[in-house]
Symmetry: C5
Subunit: 359 residues, 5 copies
């Protein structure tokens, strides 16, 4: 919930004003560039944003990554170098966006959420990833260092597959693909936790179980919230007739589309399973109540009649004033008879409970 | 609910009859005008509506604001000055409308709801805002003084951004944008309250908690009710081919559209969270019942057998008439034996409850 | 439910056979005519249907109203006079129809439901209204006298607004508008009752409360059932290219369309509120159960230990046979000690309940 | 559920293999023919299927009905006589189909479900009806004798309405109309039972009530399952441009379409009402539990304190050893005082319950 | 859930890299070929994949089946022989896919799930089936031996129906048809279990019942998850204008489409029934609680007053000190009176419970 808090600091500013919306997580901004073509590749960390401007007009493909969004001026400089519209610059800085693709004439702006699952803390982490790509360049923006793109970098370095031969649209596709593939890992983490909860909810449901079920439910709500727009986004890229996406790349987009649908399907299945767990939890609470009630009823119904018998023979009617007054007290077998009566009543009660299936 | 009450006073009147539907909140009507172009700006409060007629034919852009809708004739005069259709005049006065955009040849009529969240009273306030804009003029109407447009006024005065250079459609856009931006503030207020409730519902759920959850639920229903039509409204403005909205402004409309979707997404997430809180509340009520039942059962099951033992040795069988009659009463260790028996039974019972996990 | 009962008497008849489906509510059929043009107006109650035939070819606009549908032959005569298709005649007589608009070449047939709310009996009443309009004529049909059209008649008589100048489509529109406006009154009635119930459900929920909530729920279901088709109906009229509806009238249809959406929105909000009331009701029942359980548990847990103490000192162990046998009975402070023990146990128990927040 | 069982016996056979799927209900197959034109009508029961072949080339319209589908060869012979595609023949024999219309060049195949409500057994019966119609012929197939077409036959015999003058499409329409009209009867039966249940659920809810509510719910699910495809079917027939359906007949199809929508609306309303009954049932179970708890609590809380008083004065403290030991036992008004104390405690308790509204 | 686990091992690989995703179930890969035309048929198990390459250019139709997907190189060889796109090869090896059809220029790739129901273990089994067909060839891939295609093979051998005369599209259709037909068997298995559960849930609901209901619910969720995409898949094949599917085959596709809808309908009905069973289960738990409470209340309310009477006459007031002190103890009929009083109270209580309908 806290995430939403800072969005409102933008309220009232003129549109297109770049303002960083989000937590300031990185101390310093880190800029890296990978510049490659079919034959060569150069990888470098840049000290300042100005260092990447000369790359702009090279015939190679450039992939510039910015970690840390709090230095607004840096984004503005990069933006004006690559002719990025002010509204897009504003969007890059606002880290609370809904996944979407904005298709401009000279570039395409993609914003999506990168999720990861911290299986130690059993917590879903999430970060916004902005990808801008146009002719011969790809820019990516995120708040924290660390991303899911290492395999893509490895493929670039090793010149494996089509990646070095293809245009920037294929690199952008590879990045989106890496993000979508990573969702499978997240789903595994959540899936594992669901399995644990399923056993727990049956074996030993405690109030904390309910909290965890609700945490899982909320996580699946958040995942869903990023996934449905992601599906629209990919579908829009696939269908749009922009020349920035080549026909050969569109087949690959279809492939991520299928993966996204599969992820969504799994999330929806998880939601159904979580809803089922809630039912099981609530009904096991009811069962427990039933069991408590049964124990109470058995004790009360078993002992109260016996107590009455003891009470009767504890009455003080004067046996001397009348032969009708409690003659049992003077019988030879009076006491054994009373105890026997108690035992018989107890046995009858137990038989009754047995027949009711309470024992 | 009370809001609906006065709508019916219109029933039966001919359509296009301007009638004020709503509470009379302002004592007097306040009229302000901001008249500006690229180079100059004039800001004034007007004593009567007639004062603003001369502005009409000036080449500058005029923004006229009316606070207070109970003086019907004033709206009629303004309406006929700017050629506003009687049905639109009627709509301006009816403060219970669904957000919508009516696109006429000479002007566009937008009605939307301005929400604010009173965090002291923890209450959602809401007011209807009507915006009419056409060539070189924008008219806005609301019932109470106080709006969310101060940043827009500040930008006008400071000549910051495109606002003074652009046409009236951009001013209208800026007003709608201010309203939408304000929704984020409202969501923060509600979000904060949801967080508070989440702790309370787990820590110490009382019947009042349920009431508050329902208040939150109802607030989210009301928000939703204004937001979905708002989305349609913006989408309609964006798609319609009216020449009153310039192409450059349409890109900005797309931007508010994205914001609206984001607000809707958040409201839907809140609804899911509120529904989850209800589940937690109800199940914590059940847990509490279980605990009460456990205490009762433990007490009853522990003491009833002991009471029976005491009852048995309180019977008055005549020990002199038969050696079988309660010989324990005359034993040397009779009383300690009876107390010991009680203690053993109690320990056995406690062990049983321990095994059942009730202690 | 009873309403449905008589529909089946039509099963098996050839289509287009006019049969009255509904209750026979009016003793005699009442026929009225209002015949008007821009300059004159004539209003008359007719003794027989044949009296209205001469009006047919006049250049004025005629509005003929039939109250009471059980005289089938009368409908047939009127139908053949105005060239109404047999299927439409059949529909007019079947008072259990879904709101719809059938657009024929020469006339348009509109059927809708007129609701009213009897606030004394707190009951939703409903009647079917058929409107047929074509060139220079409007026919309306209903079962009972009394309708919501008095304001329209007043406007006709007073020659107020466009109504006398416009064509029959505007009159038909005015009638539909009157019906839709009346829905607001109905919603107010139900809204008021919802407010009453909301207080009751919190303050003093009894089983009768549940019944009333369900009555409200059912009423909202019935309203919905008439409103969604009404929306389609108006939308169909607005979009259809029939020359029977003039362009100027279409703007007004858009207006009723907006009103209908607003009514639907309100009904949907009511449904959400009613669903919330059910939750509150059920949870206040649970709370009540909890309270009862608490009282029981407190009494049982407080008195059962005391009773055990009394029971112990009521045992009859022979104090003379052994110094170990209940020496307390012979102590000087024996009785005060026993009472004191009871009081201490009671205080400890009360403290325990206090800590559990049960007192 | 049992119905589904035999569908699987088809699994693995080549498509277009006619196999009877369903119960063998009729002992012998019955074949009837009605052969008519504007002037004459001939009605006959046929001993063998071959007898109807000569009718094929007559200029009259033929309606051939087959009761009993277990003689597969018979269907094949009829099929090849009228040029019916093997897939259609297979469909006719499979009595577990979803309502649909297959439009071929030479004929239209309609399959729908004929429901009836046995009000004695309170059970919904259902049978599949196949209608094939083409130029001058209509074939109908069903498993059992007895259908809802007697009124159609009567109209044919009496030459009432358009039926003898029109083409086979009108006859087919009349049959579908008869089936749809019959749904109203079924809804009345179910509606009546719902009314009975509504009283019962409030007056005297027993577990059997729940079962009946669930039976009603399931019946409404089954009805729905046939109705939605029926709606599509009629809509498809109305829109398709096949020359087999004349323009005049399409108006009538629109009429059945309206009826189907009305039936669907009613079923949906029933579903809402049934869901409401479930709520009422469950909450009246809760209320009953509350009442039981109240009785228990009143008894326990009333008598347990009294029992304690009796227990105290049943203690055996030696009054002779100390003036402090139970001096009440020797008081003159000791016993009346004890009884009086009990009565006062009881009155206080009753007052407390009164204030709690439990009495 | 475990199934998902291995999908993530692909994350990071370049797209189009064939990797086996799934369990390694078969020890060795089995390859079979059926090579046929109108006149001849040859059936063979192949030792290596290379053996099937010579068949490629024969004018006959070939159906090659691969059981076991862990030998990636084998799939690659076959793929390059028949010109299968790398993405398709990757899809064949990934056994966790959503059913879909990819239509390429030279072949069509269909992936669907083959379900079977193990009625012994009452478990739903599921395997992925890939079908690739193009001009004169059909390739099928699955992980385990054993499929549902034996009837198709039998038809091929017996030269029954159109199968040997038609093209490969008809063979592919026959395979999909066999899979869909098999769903009916699965539904029967689940349907049978639902029937069993329905009796059990009413007769003797235990916590294990709930688990089984949830297993059924989850199975229906999984079925649904394969069925909806299957429907889309068939619909896509039917509509697409690829020349690989002949017009005559499209009619048959329509037929499987209808079957799929019927299967979906049944699954949806099962879901409704299962939801209803949950309600019945939960309410029978409540009823049971009610019954337990009634027994407890009857025992407590019956015996507690009697115990009080016994307690009163067990008090030790000194009858000699005052004639008011418990004179009953010295009455001649004292003891019978006390017992009689107890019996009367018991009868009154029983009558009260009788009137409350608790006995």
């Amino acid at each position: 919930m806290t995430r939403l808090k800072k969005v409102s600091k933008k309220a009232g500013l003129p549109p297109g004003t770049p303002v960083h919306v989000g937590e300031r997580v990185a101390e310093t901004v880190k800029i890296t560039i990978i510049d490659y073509d079919r034959d060569s590749i150069e990888e470098k960390e840049l000290a300042s944003i100005e260092e990447c401007f000369p790359y702009k007009d090279r015939p190679t493909t450039k992939w510039i990554t910015i970690y840390g969004l709090h230095e607004v001026s840096l984004i503005e400089k990069l933006g004006s170098c690559f002719d990025i519209h002010p509204l897009t610059q504003e969007d890059v800085l606002n880290t609370e966006q809904r996944p979407k693709a904005d298709i401009f004439d000279d570039y395409i702006y993609i914003v999506l959420r990168m999720h990861s699952y911290d299986s130690g803390k059993r917590q879903l982490l999430s970060e916004q990833m902005s990808i801008i790509f146009g002719h011969k360049f790809v820019l990516t923006f995120q708040e924290r260092e660390g991303d899911v793109f290492d395999p893509v970098r490895a493929r670039l370095r090793a010149n494996k597959g089509r990646i070095r031969k293809a245009e920037s649209d294929y690199l952008a596709y590879s990045l989106v693909d890496a993000v979508v593939d990573n969702y499978f890992k997240v789903l595994e983490g959540i899936g594992g936790e669901i399995e644990d909860m399923e056993e727990q909810v049956v074996a030993k449901p405690v109030p904390a179980t309910l909290r965890k079920i609700h945490d899982l439910k909320r996580e699946s709500i958040y995942l869903r919230k990023s996934l449905w727009p992601l599906r629209e986004l990919i579908s829009a890229l696939e269908r749009d007739e922009t020349p920035l996406i080549r026909k050969t790349t569109r087949i690959y987009l279809r492939d991520i589309y299928d993966h996204t649908i599969q992820v969504i399907d799994t999330v929806e299945t998880y939601r159904d399973i979580i809803a089922g767990m809630l039912d099981v939890y609530l009904s096991s609470i009811s069962n427990r109540m039933n069991e408590i009630m049964k124990v109470l009823t058995i004790f009360a119904a078993l002992f109260i009649p016996l107590t009455l018998i003891a009470g009767i023979y504890g009455m003080n009617f004067n046996t001397e004033k009348s032969p009708l007054n409690m003659p049992e007290l003077n019988w030879y077998f009076g006491y054994p008879m009373a105890l026997g009566l108690m035992i018989i009543v107890a046995i009858v009660m137990l038989g009754y409970f047995k027949r009711k299936n309470w024992l």
